[in-house]
């Protein structure tokens, strides 16, 4: 008993470090004057670095392990997402330090505590192999997101976004809970592994399994902004402070994909990774549902993004479209598909985080998120515009950048399984997406700036952060082997 507990605790060391960070932040809020922003952010950054380091150490030491009576499974797959979680939170903390919107809020200590909680929730979501644990960690992530969205004091836009998010989120999680209860009713177990065995041994009525799966998918789809559940995204992305929007667009989405893949690959698909044998054992054709939803998600996201004038709103629709591209990887069953989605998520982290970072810096300076106000930005601040261009082209998926590799890998995995129609839809969508990304670039480069506009000030630290995101976006576009092998190794799931 004791040794089991110690082993379990070692396996969740990154989460323990993050939890400790949150506790220290809370104590910091109590013990210091409320002005201690610098100290708060330093504690948060140190904590997240520690958690990320612990994740990397665990990643190198072991391949798979269950902890706490198989409530969580720590394997390369879950550690990959833990790493994304803590690194995203780290970047969001760095962003929040410079954010105009978060400057005069309730307190930086609380922000650090909430963000640490977000990291824990996301990390646990990727490692849960039990429906109860999935629900709990997802709620942890959600509650933290609700708080973060409405974090700006006094800003109506932010409050409205928070309220919309909490209402949509509660409904989605209610649906998910209902679906889970149906699964429990059939399998008499909350463990994903037991559900798989139940699917193999019993013939359940199709309709029940359809309802249960669709309901559970509703809850997960809400997190990844899948199309029938995408309505909240534009309003929330626009209303939230920009660092939080970046977190929602990158980390929250990654967490959703982690939990979807974990759920389907553990409970619905019988697999032997070594021989590349994968078979859908559930009585329903859920892969087709996901494929159709993927097509709708990317099409609606891309088409509605075209007329947007607010850049955060535009990026919100673009994030819906990207969820669609990634869903292609879920509508086929193979290890290549999982590793393709992981690769896409890693690439998406760099380019989307970068784009939001620049949106925030520009907003700090010109107090506007309108695409029209980006006119002639290239003439006053050429470096920033060049970086933005790289991120936007990468989001489109143009060849020399990492976004291209992400798309190609996902499309190839789909072609390998003969899903040609979906790849054609995706390619057409990519062409459509070029229009609205290029519109921003056109504004920056081909239009003249208004009279008397000041160059956007970029401090040393923000410049370094942008470079740290820019380099991988370019580098992985031309030399993607390390990232690909990392994603391939991480696609190993228990």
């Amino acid at each position: 008993m004791q040794t089991g507990l110690t082993r379990s605790l070692v396996l969740i060391a990154p989460e323990l470090i993050a939890a400790l960070t949150a506790l220290i932040a809370l104590m910091g809020a109590m013990l210091t004057k409320r002005s201690g922003a610098k100290e708060a952010f330093s504690i948060g950054i140190i904590g997240m670095l520690g958690a990320a380091a612990a994740t990397v150490i665990l990643y190198e030491r072991l391949t798979l392990n269950t902890a706490f009576h198989a409530l969580v499974t720590i394997d390369p797959f879950s550690l990959f997402f833990s790493l994304i979680a803590y690194v995203s939170v780290l970047y969001v903390l760095l962003m929040a330090m410079d954010s105009r919107e978060l400057k005069d809020t309730q307190g930086s200590w609380e922000l650090v505590a909430i963000l640490s909680g977000f990291g824990i929730g996301m990390s646990l979501m990727a490692s849960s192999t039990n429906l109860l644990m999935i629900y709990l960690s997802m709620e942890l992530l959600s509650v933290m997101s609700y708080l973060l969205v409405s974090y700006t004091r006094g800003a109506r836009r932010s409050k409205e976004a928070g309220l919309k998010y909490i209402i949509y989120g509660s409904i989605a999680s209610g649906f998910m809970l209902y679906g889970m209860s149906l699964l429990y009713g059939m399998a008499h177990s909350l463990s994903l592994g037991d559900i798989l065995i139940a699917f193999i041994n019993h013939g359940y009525p199709r309709i029940t399994v359809y309802v249960a799966t669709l309901f559970v998918l509703t809850g997960f789809g809400f997190k990844i902004v899948m199309v029938p559940m995408h309505m909240w995204a534009p309003d929330v992305y626009e209303g939230a402070p920009t660092p939080v929007t970046a977190l929602l667009a990158v980390a929250s989405k990654a967490a959703g994909f982690a939990v979807i893949m974990r759920f389907f690959y553990t409970a619905y698909i019988s697999s032997v990774s070594v021989t590349h044998y994968y078979a859908n054992v559930s009585p329903i054709r859920w892969l087709l549902i996901v494929a159709v939803v993927a097509a709708f998600t990317m099409t609606i996201g891309n088409i509605v993004a075209i007329p947007q004038n607010n850049i955060k709103r535009m990026l919100a629709y673009s994030s819906i479209a990207h969820a669609g591209y990634m869903l292609i990887g879920l509508s086929i069953v193979s290890r290549a598909a999982v590793s393709a989605v992981l690769l896409y998520l890693a690439v998406y982290f760099f380019m989307n985080m970068g784009a939001f970072f620049i949106v925030m810096i520009v907003d700090n300076s010109i107090h506007s998120e309108d695409i029209d106000h980006y006119s002639g930005l290239a003439q006053v601040s050429p470096g920033l515009s060049a970086a933005m261009t790289v991120f936007l082209f990468s989001l489109t998926g143009l060849p020399p950048f990492a976004g291209f590799i992400g798309k190609v890998v996902v499309f190839l995995a789909a072609i390998d399984k003969g899903l040609y129609w979906l790849v054609i839809v995706a390619v057409v969508n990519t062409v459509v997406s070029l229009y609205y990304y290029a519109r921003v670039i056109k504004k920056m480069y081909l239009e003249t700036p208004p009279e008397g506009v000041q160059p956007v000030r970029v401090g040393l630290v923000p410049a370094l952060i942008i470079i740290s995101l820019l380099v991988p976006t370019i580098l992985f576009g031309v030399w993607w082997t390390p990232l690909q092998s990392f994603a391939h190794f991480s696609s190993f799931m228990y």
Binding site: M1, Q2, L5, L23, L26, M27, A29, M30, R34, S35, A37, K103, D104, T105, Q106, G107, R153, Y204, P205, I207, T208
Partner: protein
């Protein structure tokens, strides 16, 4: 399996029909004589003051939330007390850490003045402005 649900269906149908028939009968039989006293809310014999659809003070929710936290603490302590003897010291330290974490939260709530009913809002705004 689906056939098992026929019982539920029959129950639902009967229940709906029963309620509908009773309400319809009542409507046919009862005298229709609405007046002011009859239409007022029933407040256990007290005369109602104002509407019942008022905005509750948001601070009630804060108190309720804090209460829930300590409620959950007790829920966790009961099963712990049952297995305490067999688990030994590790259970002791376990629950001590758990209580410690809760206490930090409690201290935070206390220090931040969320337990005070009357709040000094002016002070709060000053602090917000001093937050650079």
């Amino acid at each position: 399996m689906l056939i098992n649900f026929s019982n539920v269906f029959v129950f639902l149908t009967l229940g709906t029909v029963f309620v509908a028939v009773t309400l319809l009968l009542g409507r046919l039989v009862r005298p229709a004589d609405p007046n002011l006293i009859k239409m007022s809310n029933y407040e256990c014999g007290e005369e109602p003051i104002g509407h019942s659809w008022i905005t509750f003070n948001v601070r009630f929710y804060v108190i309720a939330l804090i209460f829930v936290i300590f409620d959950v603490e007790v829920v966790f302590l009961f099963p712990w007390a049952v297995v305490f003897r067999s688990m030994g010291w590790i259970a002791f330290w376990d629950v001590l850490i758990f209580m410690g974490v809760l206490l930090v939260g409690f201290a935070y709530v206390w220090k931040m003045g969320d337990l005070d009913w009357i709040k000094d809002l002016g002070n709060l705004q000053e602090e917000g402005e001093g937050d650079e």
